[in-house]
Symmetry: C2
Subunit: 162 residues, 2 copies
Amino acid sequence: MKLGEGVEWSLHCCSVLGTLPPGVALPGARLAEFHDVPASYLAKHLQALSSAGIVESVTGRNGGYRLALPADEITMLDVVLAVNGDEPAFRCSEIRQRGPSAISLEHYVRPCGIARAMWDAESAWRNSLRNTTIGDLVGELDQSVAPEQIDKAITWMGSVLR
Amino acid sequence: MKLGEGVEWSLHCCSVLGTLPPGVALPGARLAEFHDVPASYLAKHLQALSSAGIVESVTGRNGGYRLALPADEITMLDVVLAVNGDEPAFRCSEIRQRGPSAISLEHYVRPCGIARAMWDAESAWRNSLRNTTIGDLVGELDQSVAPEQIDKAITWMGSVLR
DNA sequence: GTCCCTATACTCGGATAGCAAGTGTCCGAGTATAGGCGG
DNA sequence: CCGCCTATACTCGGACACTTGCTATCCGAGTATAGGGAC
């Protein structure tokens, strides 16, 4: 079980976009510069976010990305699934239907206990992520980020948005 | 986020081993045959379970694998972590310490909200898996497996264990 | 001064290589058993 | 008939190829803007 690096980047990007004034877009290249990550690769994930309807792209000059919904209506789960794919982590291959003790297919009506337990665990994981929105992340930035860094970020943002 | 196939195999193997009389060992090749999976590859995961102290190997003729602990003392989480690695799925690369708004290292004392939320979700996942033991899985086999299949499995097992 | 047109520069989007990890396989080291031999 | 010894066959354990998916990159299509020119 491993989560791709793009998940972290995407969540940070959404947080940044959530701090912008409504309607203002930030280019992908600027988002990459702000986080010091490869711009070309970040673009791939921003594309996924765009396809999922989480961010929307503004083309042309002074274009970029901006949140497609209010920050409070975007959950962390939405972002994670958009970037990492919405397939469940555990996939039951029904190996109980194979081997020397297999019986006719019609007897397998109830999922096996292993699959149920794994899916329950994944539901717990998803529910936890569903309980935090991008708006929550933005709201607690002043608690986890030093004021000095916030000032620098605001200054940089002002020079970029122009 | 994707869980390797070996996780499923390992959990099923532990369930099977949990049904055996105490002290009896089942060779990896028979476990593979019972589940109809590649024996050579399953051996790799059984090795991991052995290293983790979940199963113990009995060498030589009539050897094989058996649970190293009572089935009620082995949680699903133990098995999953042994096979899939115990690294957290989400790894914070501290990208907030990079880019144009970075400040001196000493200001980053509290983990960022994103990492905290991701870790909380993973804790929920782990806690859920911790609440189910191999013994629980064995105990509910008669609810999720048809009696006919149980009979066939017992018959096969008897012919193999000799 | 105002409006329109064009060229520009900037944006996103998808198609294209490189690499790590999971997947699959193999052969060698070690051991408990089965059978034969001697007493 | 009983005990010992040896050869065997079977076990696990680690070292070696292959495939999938994540990582990283590039170039082309499209558009809002900026500037210049005409009215």
